[in-house]
Structure formats: C-alpha cells, structure tokens
C-alpha cells in the first residue's frame, strides 16, 4: 500500500517550521522524555540493592517496601516528572492547550530570559550539578548507612583508603609506560647546545668582508638586548633571520660571532637534531627545544637560537615564495615589477619545471617547528590554563618571549615556504661572495696571522685575481702558500708562493706530462690564439694566466678574471667571449693549413652556448621572444616556417633558432680569423713564450704581445723582425712534422 502511494506522490522534503510558527510543542526524543524517570528508578533500585546488601535477612520484597517508605520523596519527584511529561505530551498534540500555556505562561520565559544567556547557562549547570550531587549523596548515604550529607564526606575517605590499591595499579601502568617514556626521553635529547655569554670568543671583528650583513645583524642583536628601543614606539623585536648564500662565505662564523657578541644565551641547534627514528621524536625535540628557549628567554630577557644548515629541516613540497629571482644571480628578473599574479605565474611554471620537494626531519617535525615559531603568544602551562580556568580566572597573557631565530643555509630553495614568512623569518640576508674590499680585508686578516712579504698592492692584486674567493677559500690559499714556503725552507710567504698556491687550488696539480714537440707547438698555438684574441678584443676580463702544462682535464688553458666586481654583462662582451672561444678553431685552421684538432670541442661548446643564450634568452639576436618561456609553453622558437614573401628583416626573423645561432657563429669565426691574421706575429711570439716557460702569468702574456718587459718574461725580443723570421721557420718545420707525423727538423729556437 505504502509503496503505491509513495510512487504516486514521491516523498517531499518538508522544511521545519520556525518556533514562532509552531502550533504545538516540539516532539521530545524518547530519551529526553524518560531520562529523569530512569535516573529516579536507577537511584531507587540502587538504594534497594544497598539495603539488601547491608542486611542478610532482608528479602527483596521487604527491602522494596522499606525503601519506599523511607525514600518517599523520590516518588514525589517522579510524579512531578510524570505530570510534566504528560503536560508536554498534550502540548505536542493539542494545539489549543499548547497555545493556552504559551499565552498565559510566556511571562515565565520572559522573566527567565531577562537573565543573560551565559548566566542562565551557568545557573542551569549549577542546578544540574546540585541534583547530581544530591542523588549521589543519597546513594552513598545508603551504602555507608549514614546521613546523605555525611556520606558525601566519607566518600573521599574511602577513596583515600583505596589509595594503596590504586597506587599498586598505577605502578603497574607506570612500569609498562616508563619503558617507552624513558626510551623516547633519551631519544629526544641531544643535538642542542647552549652557550652562555663569554663561552665563545669569536667577535664580529673576526668576520671579514660581510660588513653589510653584519650591520644588519648588529641591529637585530641591539633590539634583542634593548627591546624597549623599538617596543616603546609600538614595534616589535624582529624574530627571525635567514642567512643564505654559497658555502664558505661565513654564515656559521657570523653565528659564532653573534654568540660571542650577545649578552644573551646562544642555543646552537645541530642540523641533524631533528632526524628521528620514531614518529614523534622530532616533534618532541622541537617542543623541548622551544620550552628551553622560552625558559632561557624569560630568565635572561632574550635568547638567540641558531639553526645551522636549515635546509635539513626540509619542506613539504611547496614552492618557496617571497619574490622571484630572490636566489638568482645578477639578473634583472621580472618578479620585481610584475603584478603579483603574473609574477606567481611565471614563478610557478618555472618551479614545476625544476621540481624539488621533501627531505628534512619529516613526519611532522617541520610543522611542529612552524607552530612553535608562530605560537609564542599562546597561554601555556597546566596551572595557567587548566587550574585558572577551573577557578573561573582567565589565563594570564604570556610574557614577551624575546627569541631571535637565526637560520643558515646554502640551499634556500629547500626551505619551506611557510618557514620564510614574516613573523617567523622576518629578515633574509644573502651572505654572498665577499666584495673586493671584503676579500682584501680577509687576505689581510689571514696574512696577519703568518709572516709574509706581500705589499698592499700585491694584496690588492691578489684580491682582484681571486674574484669568487670565499673566506674559507682565502684561508686555504694562504695556508697552501705557507706550505709552499715551508717546503722551500722559508718561514715567510712571498708573492710566488701565493700565486702557486692559487694555481694549485684553481687548476689542481699539473700532471708531469711532456708533450712531443709537434704537439707542444700545436697546443701552444691553440692557447696563444686564445691569449692574443683575449688580449685584443676582451676588455671586461684580464688574463690571469696562460699555460700549456697538461692538467687533469685540460691540455692547456688561458684563464681570465674580471678586473672589477661587475654585475651586468653586455652584448659586446659576450661577442668578445665568443671570439676568444672561436680563436682556437680559426687559429688552428689558419696555422695548420685548414686542419684542426678535436681540442676545440670545449671552445665550440661554450661559444655555441653563449650564442644560443644571446639569441634565445638575452635579446642580443634578431628576435625578441625569450626561448626560455617558448620552451616552457612548447610554442617553439620563432622561425622554421615563413613561406610567404616578406622583407629581408622578416625573413631573417623567420629562420629557425639553430640557423640563426650558426649564422652568428660563422660571422664571428670570420671575424676571429681576420683578427688573427692581423696578429699572426703576436700569436707566434706568445706560442714561443709558452713553449719556453710552459706557464705565463697574465702580465707576462701582455708583455709578450705588446713587446715590452714583463715581470718574468721579456717581450722585447719578439718585436725584432729577425726573430719573427726564426719563429716562422720553426713554425713551418712544426707544421711539416705535424703533417708527416715525425719530429720537427728545427729545435725550439732561443731568441736574443
């Protein structure tokens, strides 16, 4: 029946009427109807049971009767409850009855609602508790055979009497638990060292070449020591610093200096501190660390916590944010002027291509750290939160914990995005390669510790020819120079010691390989072409050294260094770079009658790479669009098609990227050939000097090319025409030997 009627009129959703629209009372649930009666019944039967338990002679019937007589009031209450429920029941079904009550007894509700909601809730809660306690008292009274109220006071005594038993049980529980608790406790120790002022002797004056960062750190420490300086104006003490930059640039040293300088305790957190074997150890460690930090902060008015190699904390696989190009080197990236949405788009795309995630302590450790870092303002403590609340008091506002978090990393990309937000890490400082001034200061610092004979000019030059030297590198170079000096039976470092040490550090030890003569000459010509070309066209770099001594991964090389700290690069400079690279190919072909060796492969690779970047990325070619984003969106490079007839410029643009790169390189190769023809004598001269001395410093290279006296090599003989003839003859012999695969008929000539 019901199914047919259902199919005829499908069940409809009926919306609940508002209270004011109701004609009858809301239906009570079964439990709500019966709960008091059930409570009364249970109470009554508990009392009966207690009677029977207390008297072995008493039967159930008599117990029932006796109890009914003694606790008649429970029936009065039950009767009242039944009447109330009957009243509700009628109200639920009979609307006139309900209406009558609503109308004439509304004043009760109104009176009640005059009390505030909160007070009404408290009142009802108090009444409920009183009722519960009263029932409990009655039951306990029956059990102890005492007056109910007295029995209520006997109950704690009974509990006290049972304490030994409870303690026994607790001991068993504790015995089982203690094994885990102790295990976890021991595992959650370690990795955190606290230093107090004067424990560490490093000072800011020991950190060289990073003055701009130090100035900022000093500021942070100043605020930590005198927080009122900023707090009285409504600010707050910056809570976090991130030091990031290449390895060896002095981040940890800076932290040590902070520890030495500050008058506050310094907590050093090991990178591995949060690696854990069991789930939760890391979290426990973070929590105990911050408990310690808060304690120290309160006791000493502030504390510095240093997380070395913060990348060990890992990330949750999200992109680090906070501005694009933050970690890119020397480019003017769009991130700084684009709208945030566009910037984000550019950035996310880039990130997805790279993809990097995970690592670190894992298993909630990072999250715990994040919570602790931003959760310093919550009320804490059992007494504060639970006891005070129980007594109806509000928890005390937490004191100001002045904790300065310092993190150091050389992989800032590996840090979690959320870790770097202001409030957690307020300030981010790049501890980059030291500037030239910084390098000079660092050299001076380390040289001051040893005996040396270097003049200020030499130190200046040393700083110039070691452009990316970090503090650690400089320290190492000086030490290596000292070793050279000691091996030569001296205690004082001289200029050649330093240069040798530098070459050893940069190039590795030379392999003691003797070239056969025709190959030595070929390598010398190859390097001489590079050297002459670099000397002629390249103004933004200076030659550091030229060598034909075979190293671990090269036959010879011309190394250049930038004479100044320069942060932008120009088209003309890149063209010069390509010319220097292509000089080897052009030179070999020119000097060896069109032949060339495979030794040019590296040169061609770098030339092609630079040419590709120029054409595709840096806007130094004939098109505008960036190949980086073309590749990302898979739209292809401009060109390749273009069947329609257009002007020459358009035709040029429509050529494929590779064609354009090749064409640019071919043009530059021609130019290199032309320049080498013009400087043929210089090439032969430099090749000869290289063959004689194996390795030349930049100044000697310049002296040979310019025909003047250098520090070691005298270039003046190379200006003489007869000497050039000798060199040409030697070259001819070498080329012949090269062709016939035998020894040259003329030995390496000595020039007057």
């Amino acid at each position: 029946m019901s199914t047919t009627s259902n199919s005829a009129t499908p069940a409809q959703f009926v919306s609940r009427p508002r209270d004011t629209d109701r004609k009858t009372r809301i239906h009570l649930g079964m439990f709500d109807r019966l709960k008091f009666l059930i409570a009364f019944t249970i109470t009554f039967f508990v009392l009966v049971w207690s009677d029977m338990a207390g008297n072995p002679l008493l039967g159930f019937n008599d117990a029932l009767i006796e109890r009914t007589r003694s606790t008649w009031w429970i029936f009065v209450l039950a009767a009242i409850e039944i009447i109330r429920q009957i009243h509700f029941l009628i109200s639920e079904y009979a609307s006139p009855y309900h209406g009558f009550w609503q109308k004439y007894f509304a004043f009760v509700d109104k009176t009640l609602h005059r009390i505030s909601d909160w007070n009404r809730f408290r009142l009802s809660r108090a009444i409920k508790w009183l009722l519960f306690i009263a029932l409990l008292a009655v039951i306990l009274g029956a059990i102890y055979d005492e007056a109910p109220v007295r029995a209520l006071f006997l109950a704690p005594a009974a509990l006290f009497a049972a304490l030994p038993f409870i303690a026994q049980l607790m001991f068993a529980v504790v015995f089982i638990l203690i094994q885990f608790v102790a295990l976890f406790w021991f595992l959650s120790r370690g990795g955190i060292d606290t230093y107090f002022p004067d424990d560490i002797r490093t000072r800011f004056t020991d950190v060289w070449g990073q003055d701009h960062v130090l100035a900022r750190i000093r500021e942070n420490l100043m605020f930590l020591e005198r927080p009122e300086e900023i707090e009285k104006f409504g600010g707050y003490v910056p809570g976090g610093i991130l030091l990031w930059g290449p390895p060896g640039t002095g981040k940890t040293l800076m932290a040590e200096a902070m520890a030495g300088e500050t008058g506050k305790p310094f907590v050093f957190v090991d990178p591995g501190a949060f690696n854990n074997m069991f789930f939760g150890i890391g979290i426990l460690k973070v929590k105990s660390l911050f408990r310690k930090l808060r304690k120290l902060a309160l006791r000493y008015g502030g504390v510095v916590a240093f997380f070395d190699e913060a990348d060990a904390l890992g990330n949750r696989g999200l992109a680090p944010a906070g501005g694009i190009g933050r970690y890119s080197e020397n480019e003017c990236h769009g991130g700084n002027y684009l709208s945030p949405v566009s910037a984000n788009l550019v950035f996310r795309e880039k990130f997805m291509m790279g993809g990097a995630a995970g690592g670190g302590g894992g298993m909630g450790t990072l999250q715990a750290l994040l919570t602790e870092l931003s959760g310093l303002k919550k009320p804490r403590g059992f007494l504060n939160r639970v006891v005070r609340r129980t007594l109806g008091m509000r928890p005390k506002t937490p004191p100001k914990y002045r904790i300065l978090i310092v993190m150091a990393t050389n992989l800032p990309e590996a840090l979690d995005e959320a870790l770097l937000r202001p409030g957690r890490i307020d300030r981010m400082y790049r501890v980059g390669y030291p500037s030239k001034a910084g390098r000079i200061r660092t050299y001076e610092g380390y040289l001051a510790k040893v005996s040396h004979s270097l003049s200020p000019e030499e130190i200046d030059k040393l700083a110039t020819i070691t452009p990316y030297a970090t503090g650690a590198r400089i320290k190492d170079t000086i030490n290596e120079a000292l070793i050279y000096a000691i091996r030569s039976g001296r205690t004082t470092i001289t200029w050649p010691d330093v240069i040798k040490a530098k070459q050893l550090k940069e190039l590795g030890p030379p392999e003691d390989v003797e070239y056969i003569e025709r190959e030595r000459h070929a390598v010398a010509i190859h390097e001489a072409c590079h050297g002459v070309m670099a000397h002629v066209v390249r103004r933004h770099m200076m030659i550091d050294l030229a060598t034909i001594e075979k190293g671990s991964d090269y036959l010879g090389m011309v190394a250049s260094i930038p004479p100044d700290d320069q942060f932008t690069r120009w088209k003309s400079e890149y063209e010069a770079d390509i010319l220097v690279s292509l000089a080897s190919l052009a030179g070999e072909r020119m000097f060896f009658g069109g032949d060339n060796s495979s030794g040019v492969s590296g040169d061609l690779e770098s030339a092609t790479t630079i040419a590709s970047f120029m054409e595709g990325h840096w806007g130094m070619g004939s098109t505008v669009s960036s190949h980086a984003s073309n590749k990302r969106f898979e739209v292809g490079a401009p060109g390749g098609g273009g069947k329609e007839k257009r002007g020459d410029a358009a035709k040029e643009m429509r050529r494929s990227l590779a064609d354009r790169i090749e064409s640019n390189l071919a043009t530059l190769l021609n130019k290199a050939e032309k320049l080498l023809k013009e400087n043929r004598n210089q090439v032969l001269s430099l090749a000869h000097a290289l063959e004689v001395h194996k390795t030349l410093s930049g100044e000697d290279v310049a002296a040979v090319i310019d025909g003047v006296a250098g520090p070691i090599v005298d270039g003046r003989p190379y200006t003489k025409a007869k000497n050039i003839k000798i060199l040409e003859a030697y070259h001819e012999a070498a080329v012949r030997a090269h062709r016939d695969h035998n020894s040259p008929s003329i030995l390496l000539p000595e020039l007057q």
Binding site: R33, G54, N55, P56, L57, N61, I65, Q85, D145
Partner: protein, 222 residues
C-alpha cells in the same frame, strides 16, 4: 494521531512500573528487621511487634545502681528489644518474672580484659542465671529449673551456646527462656539474644520462637 506507538507503549510500561513500585509501598513488610550494620548483628521479629526503646532499657537498668553497675552498662554497644505486646516494658524485660507476651531482646556488649580472659562456655551459659550451678543443684535461686536443650553454635566470626531452659521464679509463673550467647572470635565482645515468655505462651508459639531465634545472625564488626 500518535506518531510512534512504540514510544508510548514504552512510556506506558515505565508508568506501570513506577505505579507498581509506589503501590507496593502501601503494603506492609512481612517482618520487622532489627540490625546494627557496624556490629554486624541482625534479627527479625514478626511484623506487628512493639519495640521497647533502648533508652528505656538503660534507664531502668541504672535505676539506683552503683558506679560499678554504671560502668558495666556503659559497655553495652547496642541493644534492641521487641515484644508481642505493647504492655511489655523495660522492667518486664529485665526482671526475673516472665513477661506476659513473647519478648525478644538482643544485646551486644564489649568485654573488659579480665572478662575476656575469664569468658568460657560456662560464662556464656551463666549470663542471666547461674545455669551451671542450677543444673548441678548447687544453686537454688529459682525453683523447678530444667535444662530443655543446649547446642553449640559456631559461625565465621563468633561461637557460643544456644540454651533453652525453664524455671519458676520464687512466687512467679513458670517461664521458659531461649538464650543464645556468642563470644566473638577476637574475644572482644559478646552477642546475646534472648527470647522468653511464660512457659504456657512459649509452648503455644514454639515455631515463632524458633523462627525468631534462627533469624539472629552475627556477621561481626565491619
């Protein structure tokens, strides 16, 4: 009209239970239960018996008594007496002449150290009358003394004797006494229960007497 039948049938059944319980309160209990939970003594007498208050008993006992008697009376820990007749008073309970209606009397009394040392089955038997001497004829404080029955009672917490005897007090009606006297195992207190009447009434209600004496239960101190 009713939304759910089950709801209301349940409600109805609850009402019925409540009503039954409250109506059962109108009926009278079948017995009077006398007890002292602390000392662990229980007994019942038929309902309709009358209580003789403990205070009355003590007052009567101490009337004109000397200090030594008063000290002895203070050793009483608990006592309760019931009689079939309303007329039975504390005096009837304690004097040698038999009460006219069946009367039950329970008393728990602490023992002094010397009493405890001296207490024996004889001592228990001789609590009211020197029964031992009367049996042997050494004492003649009452006439026609007859030992009707005697048996040993051993419970978990106490042991002693149930002694039934009859006698005629000098110038009084024949009387029968069912006396139970137990010494607690720790020898600190004695539990004493007495049911007595004239021999005539005692014989008439022998089964009732037995039921009352049987109900006397000693569980011992908590």
């Amino acid at each position: 009209m009713f939304k759910s039948r089950i709801n209301h049938s349940l409600l109805l059944s609850i009402l019925t239970v409540a009503l039954t319980v409250s109506l059962s309160g109108c009926g009278a209990p079948s017995k009077i239960y006398a007890k002292n939970g602390q000392l662990g003594v229980f007994f019942t007498v038929p309902s309709g018996w009358y209580k003789i208050s403990a205070e009355d008993i003590r007052t009567y006992e101490l009337e004109g008594a000397d200090a030594a008697a008063k000290t002895k009376a203070d050793l009483v820990l608990w006592q309760e007496a019931f009689s079939e007749s309303r007329k039975t008073s504390a005096k009837n309970l304690l004097q040698l002449e038999a009460p006219l209606a069946l009367t039950a009397f329970a008393r728990v009394r602490a023992l002094t150290l010397s009493e405890s040392d001296a207490m024996s089955y004889n001592g228990l038997r001789n609590l009211i009358l020197p029964v031992t001497d009367l049996i042997s004829g050494e004492s003649t404080i009452v006439d026609d003394f007859q030992l009707l029955d005697e048996q040993e009672i051993i419970t978990d917490t106490a042991q002693g004797l149930r002694t039934v005897y009859s006698f005629s007090p000098k110038g009084g009606e024949d009387e029968t006494v069912d006396q139970t006297a137990l010494l607690s195992n720790d020898r600190r207190s004695i539990y004493f229960f007495l049911v007595r009447c004239t021999t005539e009434c005692f014989t008439e209600s022998e089964s009732a007497v037995d039921e009352i004496v049987q109900s006397f239960t000693v569980k011992g101190r908590k």
